[in-house]
């Protein structure tokens, strides 16, 4: 299987909102579309999914135009939405049905994902109330049957989307993307607005999907998350591709220039002497920018020569965040 995006361009009147975006995914993994707000990420995704007309270009899945008929796509849109006044279960079965999943199969999958995303209490409100009502009945001994009957509540009404918190709504929306067991999963800002616990929950599922051999396209402003999952990236700035390729290779091309150094005394004079740029310092923990491995080793030699104990010496490539900021310049202030 492969995904090919060729020369995708979009104009609104005279304004270009995307210029010649091309990339290929020839093996499963995560491809990141990065950029500042308004750079063209969501437009690219919408064009890939056929929601927006293209001025030029094509999107191929296994050599055929990408379509719901040719590819099983799961999509978590940037604009999250659910029918506010409809029962959650009805909505999930509907979305599954639209993707060709039978009602019986959909119910099985909903059960699985509800447990996985910890939203069972909203999708099966009666299941939880039955369990809770059964417990006191058992504890009360011979009077249990009577109390059980008294405690038995009338069936809870199905939960509606607008009764859920934003995070839980996002979980339901994530379920709609996953319910058809898609080959290609497109996630537009999947982790925005989630608390750390739910962020981890989402990340674990994304990891499982990668392990299952799925193709993922992810758009995010959270560089650390992208770095955690993505193998290849495209950085867009003002509708143009400014950087593209394999993330490791991009990083390698920058060289190992980030030095984290932890010592037990002030080493500022050594840093100055070695010509290293000091970025931050906190309780003798230094973040430094070096020109290369030679300069870093020179600084280390100076410290060892003067018998200064070195607790941490970590020489790394630049982070994606730094690369992003460098590439998009002043526009990066909007990224998280």
């Amino acid at each position: 299987m492969s995904l090919e995006v060729k020369n995708l361009s979009k104009k609104y009147g005279e304004k270009t909102v995307l210029e010649s975006l091309s990339f290929t995914m020839d093996k499963p993994g995560v491809y990141a579309l990065l950029g500042t707000n308004g750079a063209g990420k969501t437009t690219s995704i919408r064009m890939m999914l056929g929601m927006l007309s293209k001025n030029s270009g094509e999107v191929l899945w296994n050599g055929k135009p990408l379509d719901t008929a040719t590819c099983n796509v799961g999509y978590l849109a940037e604009e999250r939405g659910l029918y506010p006044k409809y029962a959650l279960m009805d909505q999930l079965i509907y979305f599954a049905g639209l993707r060709g999943v039978s009602k019986t199969e959909a119910k099985k999958r909903i059960k699985h994902w509800a447990a996985r995303l910890e939203v069972e209490e909203y999708l099966y409100p009666n299941a939880s109330s039955d369990t809770s009502s059964a417990a006191p009945a058992q504890k009360t001994g011979f009077g249990g049957a009577r109390s059980g009957a008294a405690v038995r509540k009338k069936k809870s009404k199905p939960r509606l989307a607008d009764q859920l918190s934003k995070g839980n709504q996002q979980k339901i929306q994530f379920m709609t993307a996953l319910i058809s067991n898609p080959e290609l999963l497109i996630l537009d800002e999947p982790l925005s607005g989630l608390d750390p616990v739910n962020t981890d929950l989402f990340k674990n599922i994304i990891r499982e999907e990668i392990a299952a051999g799925k193709y993922l396209i992810m758009s995010s402003h959270q560089m650390a998350t992208v770095e955690e999952f993505c193998t290849d990236i495209t950085i867009l700035d003002h509708a143009k591709v400014v950087l593209q390729g394999n993330l490791n290779e991009i990083k390698k091309s920058y060289g190992r220039v980030n030095l984290a150094l932890k010592v037990e005394q002030d080493i500022t004079p050594y840093i100055t002497r070695a010509g290293v740029t000091l970025l931050t310092e906190k309780e003798h923990e230094y973040q430094l920018k070096v020109s290369g491995e030679a300069q870093a080793n020179e600084l280390l030699s100076m410290l060892i020569a003067d018998h200064i104990p070195v607790i941490t010496f970590d020489l790394r490539e630049p982070s994606l965040h730094e690369i992003f900021v460098e590439k998009v310049g002043g526009d990066a202030h909007e990224t998280v």
Binding site: G50, M51, T68, Y75, L82, Y86, G97
Partner: protein, 444 residues
């Protein structure tokens, strides 16, 4: 064709889901129950309130004690009994000669005395009907009895003179002249009344079906857009399938509502008919103010087909316009303005159809039956009344169907762009521009 088939994949799923949500919606359930209750209550309430205008199946007069002392014309209780046997309205009333009373009994609340005398001075027959002091009979009943007795007395007179019914018909035959005869005048009056009232009822039905459908379609489309669900849906289903599914669901729901109301009405009529006397349908349609001639109400199979086709075309026309109007909106605040334009169009169709009927002009009947939008209101009724032929009726359908197809093609061209639109309500000018762009590119 294949392209359209692909575009419509998933319509069934959208239809089922939308219809289920319509049926589950509390507000819809309440309105449906209220409308069905209204239609059920309409029968007994209109019969009770409009008792004066309603025609009972049987007279409530139980006994008539009759005396006619005019020689040589003889009308006896037995004659009246025979006449009453042939007239269902009087079949349950007992007619007696005054002799049977023997001067002893006091008439009951539903009994009357009746006598016919001849005033030699004035040369006038006098019919007097006397009811008891505590009579339960109303003026209408007594008046009907008077008419019946007078009619029977006239026939007795003719029988005495040995004039047969055929001879009488021959003698009493009216003149046909170049000018309008009185009978013709009455017939025209009946015809006008019938056409007016049938047009009124049909136009109200078209208006109800259209306005209800429009409100449901607008609401469901805007709700979906405002909920930011469009992108999620468009991954799985094509925009055309989305709108067609919704239109069909709204049509089914409205038909179910109307069917429920009609069923409720006739069920109520069947039940109420067991406990109270009801006016015939044609009298109820006329409401006592219009002479609706049952003979002119030609509810033939062709007429029913004509009504169904015209209603379907009306529904499709207004539904597509409503769908477009709603898709151009982005928030629920725009619901009213999206509905307003289509509702005004429906109202205009209704008003013009009524005005055309009032004019009574044959040319007007043809014109209003051909012009799209108006034709769905006018054509079936003009056809039933014989104002237009089958040819004009079919032409009106063809023209309206062309309008529906053009609207559907336009909808297919702009619907995707409209769905993705955010911001102010899209105007017609912008929609035309979108359609132009879509045609130029030839791609979605």
């Amino acid at each position: 064709m294949k392209q359209y088939k692909e575009q419509l994949t998933g319509t069934g799923m959208v239809y089922r889901f939308t219809l289920t949500q319509f049926l589950k919606n509390k507000a819809n359930i309440i309105s449906l129950v209220i409308m069905i209750l209204f239609s059920i209550a309409a029968v007994p309430v209109s019969s009770l309130i409009g008792g004066e205008g309603s025609v009972r199946l049987h007279s409530t007069v139980e006994n008539v004690y009759f005396d006619s002392c005019i020689e040589p014309y003889s009308l006896t209780g037995a004659d009246l009994k025979n006449a009453a046997d042939e007239n269902p309205y009087w079949s349950e009333t007992a007619f007696h000669s005054m002799d049977e009373l023997n001067g002893a009994a006091v008439p009951g609340a539903n009994d009357v005395f009746a006598s016919i005398l001849f005033d030699a001075e004035t040369g006038v027959y006098q019919l007097s009907v006397t009811a008891a002091e505590d009579t339960a009979l109303n003026d209408e009943e007594i008046s009907s009895l008077s008419s019946f007795l007078a009619e029977q007395f006239d026939q007795a007179r003719y029988r005495t003179l040995q004039i047969s019914n055929e001879q009488l018909e021959f003698v009493m035959a009216s003149w046909e002249s170049g000018t309008q005869s009185y009978d013709s005048y009455l017939e025209d009056e009946d015809r006008w009344d019938t056409q007016y009232i049938v047009q009124l009822i049909y136009s109200i039905v078209v208006m109800m079906v259209s306005v209800l459908s429009v409100s449901y379609i607008v609401r469901t489309v805007i709700e979906e857009k405002a909920s930011k669900l469009i992108e999620l849906l468009m991954v799985s289903v094509k925009p055309l399938a989305l709108i067609v599914g919704k239109i069909l669901a709204a049509m089914t729901y409205v038909l179910m509502t109307m069917g429920g109301m009609i069923l409720g009405y006739f069920l109520s009529r069947a039940v109420c008919g067991r406990f109270m006397t009801l006016a015939p349908l044609s009298d109820m349609i006329g409401g006592g103010q219009f002479n609706v001639s049952g003979g002119l109400l030609n509810f033939s199979v062709i007429f029913i087909i004509a009504v169904v086709i015209s209603l379907l075309l009306a529904f499709l026309t207004f539904a597509i316009i409503a769908g477009l109007s709603a898709t151009g909106c982005s928030s629920t605040e725009d619901t009213e303005s999206a509905t307003m334009g289509v509702t005004l169009l429906i109202m205009a169709g209704y008003i013009i159809s009524m005005a055309a009927t009032t004019s009574g002009s044959g040319t007007m009947a043809v014109i209003t039956s051909i012009i799209p939008i108006l034709s769905v209101f006018c054509a079936p009724i003009h056809f039933m009344m014989g104002n237009i032929g089958v040819g004009i009726l079919i032409l009106s359908w063809v023209l309206q169907a062309i309008v529906v197809i053009l609207l559907a093609v336009f909808c297919a061209k702009v619907y995707t762009s409209l769905l993705m639109h955010r911001g102010n309500r899209v105007k017609l000018k912008d929609m035309l521009s979108m359609a132009k762009t879509s045609s130029a590119k030839g791609v979605r």
